[in-house]
């Protein structure tokens, strides 16, 4: 299906081009511009190929690529008349801009980046106009915001560019978020995000109670993008971009995206009073304000920026009028504006390029020094002013006609429309005159940095093409632009397409009179303002206080600084106790909420008779735990020793109930954690029981903590009890028991589950372990002890060194033995208690003992453990085993086992799970040793104390 191919190429090609361009060397200017130009041309061709057979007949080209069909999310590409007009503008003006930029950009600028961004932006724009799905449209919408941000901030070294880019991104992307919300509402109303279905359900949408919120949100997106009042302020600041970018973004693409969206949704959302009032007032204010401010700009690009704002306001007003004829005028003016504004921006860029300044006050007499460019710019500016026989005149006349016919409606805004239109036209003539007169006339001796001269012929070509377009359309509208406009209008209005005539001469009527008055009035206004303008005063009279930028900055400072800080102060904490307390409380709450809807009660299973032996063990364990909690505040060492006692009780319990795997693991974990905690304790500041410790408030706090702890502990007990006093439902245990040997090749079911049946879980767990170890390492790398714990502790003073002699010899001698046991545990794990986890911990303990025996320096002189290598090797091995299974066409982590023939040693059962287990082994070993080393190194490096924390509010003890 060629259409689908053309459409996806039209979107994909610019992105591909961007990628390739970004990879090209910085000095390949010619190659890059050729590539970018070719991409733009091909994109244009693609659109054309689609256009010609189908769209011209009034059809719609549609291509669908399934993505998540269940959610109604498909990549839908849809090209109709309206989209094709915008697509042609995007690709066509893109082509001209590339050609122009080839000569405009200085050789010092990083060219690959420029073209890469430009092409990526073009791709996003194409995606936006060709979207057949609303969500997809929003996605591309945000992409255009993003790439315009990158383009506007292209000259990163300039603060102005950075600020302008950030402002543009903030405003347009926030608008995009509003649009997303609006689109979600629309999707909810219609029941589908598909554009065809949305366009077919206009009545449903307008009648729905959620219509107004959806409308406001969608328009918020459109108005921010199209720089409508009160969001217009970002556009002038975006002029810090290179001129080709301005010419592209502010004539045909970025700001027109908002217009495109309004036109797109016009059939389904327009036609209501809300639509008129929102768009009409915003558009009218923008139209007048933009035109008025434009007169007083001294920067050529600034003048063009405000005139762009004003013209966008004009289009918005046209769209707001809810009349099909106004719709025709809106689309027509969008096309016209794109041509003359792009050429004007390019002309301003040429002037900037050749004279070194864009300040109208400094420019003068360019008509003599660069006559060709001057003529082109004059024609384009005349089109902007609405001079007859140019395209701007026709669409502006249509605009005036529409305002006149709308003014018959009874409301105030309606009746003010013609007046506003006339006033704006007068302003437009004035600023166009300013543009022409200020720059091109007057004495040839302006104080310009360079002596002006004509640009290279190819740089002028894009301007010539566009100006030629202005003139042709202006003189022969029906023969040139007519068919395209017709297709675009029909795709929006369908059956309701009104009769309209595209002609220069409609007879001597009121609109023509108003146009002529505007021309004369504008010239008069410019004459009157001459003195004020020549004085070179910055700022706009009457509107000096209206500074959108300052307001924006204030809002940003409030949001990102004051508000955020306040919020953080009110809701955040850096105290570990508070965090822990919150975590436990939330856990309790979650458990309660999860259990509350169900009937929670203790089970009815017959309890087995009490066994005095294990009872005694438990008694000892519980006493240890209680005592540990009691001692934890002031005697950490004692608490730690007692915790070890509790852990041993748990270990004995596992042995008692025939869970050797658990017992082994518990024992090893107990050893490792106790030693690591002991090592860490050395760096904790001592906590002394002071006179104030027993005050009522801190006592109350302790009681509260005690209550929380009691709640958590008792809750867990209750849950365990309730679970254990019930008959467990027929679960998967039997399955595991039956299949462990036949399918996993091991008789140790626990291990088979870990490395085979639930291998993926284990894989995830060891990954987490890896992350934890790295986090501990990272935290301890920048660790600063409290000032009082920096010195050598009492325990290490005196004749300490000699004491370790005998233990050290023993520990060193035991090292190989422990290593062997570790490997033994690993290898037998598949059939007998043990496994990679236990083995890894065991080996880590061996290393731990060496650090204790010889000290950090001695160990590292004799034996370098590279924990990071162990960890990465382990993770790769475990992952690689899983991938190897995929190489054999099995699912990830499928294990395989066979009997290896070792000759006279006999046969050894080997499962691929063993390799996985070796990975676990290596990772556990590496992670544990990494933490150990991170703590151990604290004692060999020179310590600097942490700065004394500021006196905290008396919350914590």
């Amino acid at each position: 299906m060629p259409d689908a191919l053309y459409l996806s190429t039209a979107i994909g090609l610019p992105y591909l081009g961007a990628l390739v361009t970004a990879l090209l060397p910085a000095n390949a200017r010619r190659l890059e511009s050729w590539l970018a130009g070719a991409v733009a041309l091909l994109t244009l061709t693609m659109v054309w190929l689609c256009y010609y057979p189908t769209i011209a007949e009034g059809g719609v080209v549609r291509a669908e690529i399934a993505w998540v069909p269940q959610l109604g999310l498909n990549l839908v590409l849809r090209l109709d008349g309206l989209a094709s007009v915008f697509a042609v503008m995007v690709a066509g003006i893109g082509l001209l801009v590339v050609l122009y930029a080839r000569y405009y950009m200085s050789s010092d600028d990083p060219i690959p980046r420029f073209f890469a961004f430009l092409l990526a932006f073009m791709g996003s724009m194409m995606g936006l106009v060709l979207s057949g799905n609303l969500i997809q449209l929003v996605f591309f919408w945000e992409l255009t915001s993003l790439f315009s941000f990158l383009l506007i901030g292209y000259w990163q070294h300039s603060a102005q560019a950075r600020d302008g880019a950030r402002m543009a991104l903030t405003v347009t992307a926030s608008g995009g978020l509003a649009l997303l919300a609006g689109v979600l509402l629309l999707g909810h109303i219609v029941g589908s995000y598909d554009l065809d279905r949305v366009l077919a359900s206009g009545d449903v949408i307008r009648a729905h109670p959620l219509y107004l919120p959806a409308l406001v949100l969608v328009l918020l997106g459109a108005l921010t993008k199209s720089a409508q009042f009160p969001f217009h302020f970002w556009l002038p600041h975006a002029m810090a971009a290179p001129t080709p970018v301005s010419a592209y973004l502010h004539s045909a693409t970025l700001v027109k995206a908002g217009i495109f969206l309004m036109a797109r949704l016009w059939p389904v959302m327009a036609g209501t009073d809300a639509w008129f009032w929102i768009l009409g007032s915003a558009g009218m204010i923008t139209l007048l304000l933009g035109a008025y401010v434009a007169i007083f700009q001294h920067d050529m690009k600034g003048l063009l920026a405000y005139s762009t704002i004003s013209h966008l306001g004009l289009i918005t007003v046209l769209l707001s009028l809810n009349s099909p004829l106004a719709m025709v005028a809106a689309i027509f003016h969008t096309m016209n504006h794109a041509t003359f504004k792009a050429s004007l921006f390019m002309a301003a860029g040429i002037i900037d390029h050749e004279t070194g300044t864009r300040d109208i006050r400094r420019l003068s007499g360019l008509n003599a020094t660069m006559p060709f460019t001057a003529r082109l710019a004059m024609v384009a500016a005349a089109a902007m002013a609405g001079v007859p026989l140019l395209n701007g005149f026709i669409s502006k006349e249509m605009f005036i006609t529409e305002t006149l016919s709308a003014s018959t409606a009874p409301t105030l805004l309606h009746s003010l429309l013609p007046l506003g239109a006339a006033l704006a036209s007068i302003f437009a003539v004035a600023y166009s005159l300013r543009f022409i007169h200020g720059a091109f006339f007057g004495p040839t001796t302006g104080d310009m940095p360079h002596t002006p001269h004509e640009p290279p012929q190819w740089m002028r070509l894009p301007v010539e093409v566009l100006v030629f377009g202005c003139m042709v359309v202006g003189i022969l509208p029906a023969a040139t632009i007519g068919p395209f406009l017709d297709v675009a209008v029909r795709s929006v209005l369908g059956e309701a397409t009104p009769y309209y005539s595209l002609a220069v001469w409609h007879g001597f009527n009121l609109p023509l009179v108003m146009s002529l008055i505007a021309l004369a009035g504008g010239a008069l206004l410019y004459r009157l303002l001459q003195r004020h303008l020549n004085a070179g005063i910055d700022g706009t009279p009457l509107l000096r206080r209206l500074d959108g930028r300052r307001l924006f900055d204030r809002v940003m400072v409030f949001l990102s600084w004051r508000f955020a800080r306040t919020l953080e102060r009110l809701l955040g904490t850096s105290r570990l106790q508070t965090q822990l307390r919150l975590m436990v409380c939330v856990t309790i709450l979650a458990a309660v909420l999860a259990l509350a809807p169900h009937d929670f009660g203790l089970g009815v299973l017959q309890l087995s008779p009490a066994d005095p032996v294990i009872g005694l063990v438990w008694l000892a364990g519980s006493l240890c735990a209680l005592a540990a909690a009691y001692q934890a505040k002031y005697h950490r060492l004692a608490a730690l020793v007692l915790l070890g006692g509790a852990g041993l009780a748990v270990c004995i319990t596992f042995v008692w109930f025939s869970a050797p795997d658990l017992a082994v693991t518990q024992l090893l974990v107990e050893v490792v954690t106790t030693v690591l905690l002991l090592l860490g304790l050395r760096w904790m500041p001592k906590r002394l029981e002071l006179a104030g410790s027993g005050r009522l408030l801190s006592r109350l706090r302790r009681y509260r903590d005690f209550a929380i702890a009691l709640g958590a502990g008792l809750g867990l007990t209750a849950i365990s009890y309730a679970t254990m006093t019930r008959v467990s439902p027929e679960g998967i245990s039997r399955f595991f028991l039956e299949r462990a040997y036949t399918e996993g090749g091991g008789t140790n079911v626990v291990n088979v589950i870990l490395v085979d049946f639930r291998g993926f879980d284990t894989f995830g767990e060891i990954t987490v372990l890896c992350i934890v170890a790295l986090t501990v390492f990272a935290l301890l790398r920048r660790f600063r002890p409290a000032p009082e714990s920096i010195g050598v502790p009492d325990q290490q003073q005196g004749d300490v060194r000699n004491w370790m002699m005998v233990p050290a010899v023993t520990m060193k001698l035991l090292f190989p033995l422990i290593g062997v046991v570790a490997v033994y545990l690993l290898l037998r794990g598949h059939d007998l208690p043990g496994g990679g986890f236990a083995g890894g911990l065991m080996l880590a303990i061996a290393i731990l003992l060496q650090y204790m025996a010889g000290g950090t320096r001695w160990v590292e002189d004799h034996l370098r453990v590279h924990p990071l290598r162990w960890m990465s090797a382990g993770l790769l091995l475990a992952g690689g085993t899983g991938l190897a299974a995929m190489a054999f066409g099995q699912p990830f982590l499928t294990s395989y086992f066979a009997y290896a023939d070792l000759g006279w040693l006999g046969k050894l059962p080997v499962a691929s799970a063993l390799i996985f287990d070796i990975g676990v082994f290596a990772l556990v070993f590496g992670a544990t040793v990494l933490m150990l080393i991170a703590i151990a190194h604290q004692s060999v490096r020179s310590q600097r104390a942490a700065p004394t924390p500021p006196p905290a509010p008396q919350e914590e003890r």
Partner: protein, 133 residues
């Protein structure tokens, strides 16, 4: 009860006697820990449990499993060796620590360091490389 029932009577008697002896010795050790007065005296008591007591229990285990499996089972020797190797070392460390503490606190009745070395005057120079704990 279970497969222990298959044990021949003389073996069973021997094993029981050994286990009981081990249990008694361990009890005696614990009792001693309770009764003895000073910390240094107390250090001696648990050694009975870990040397004699454990030896008896390990012997019993060897006897039982040798009889049950009809072959010589002496894995327990390894256990014994490790316990014998590690217990004194641990107790030595504990005793040294206590001694150190007493000397630091100038408690009476504690012998002075054997060789009053010069490092005592310059504690900074004696910074050990050993583990901080």
């Amino acid at each position: 009860m279970n497969h222990l029932a298959e044990l021949p009577a003389p073996v069973a008697l021997l094993a029981s006697a050994l286990v009981l002896a081990g249990a008694f010795l361990s009890l005696a050790g614990s009792f001693g820990l309770l009764r003895l007065r000073t910390f240094y005296d107390r250090l001696h008591a648990p050694t009975i449990a870990t040397s004699m007591g454990i030896s008896c229990v390990l012997l019993a285990s060897m006897v039982v499993f040798t009889a049950l499996q009809s072959r010589l089972v002496i894995h327990e020797v390894l256990v014994g060796a490790l316990v014998v190797l590690t217990t004194p070392v641990t107790l030595m460390l504990v005793a040294r620590t206590a001694l150190h503490r007493d000397r630091l606190e100038n408690n009476p009745g504690v012998p002075r360091a054997a060789a009053p070395d010069e490092t005592a005057e310059h504690p900074e120079a004696a910074r050990p490389e050993g583990p901080p704990a």
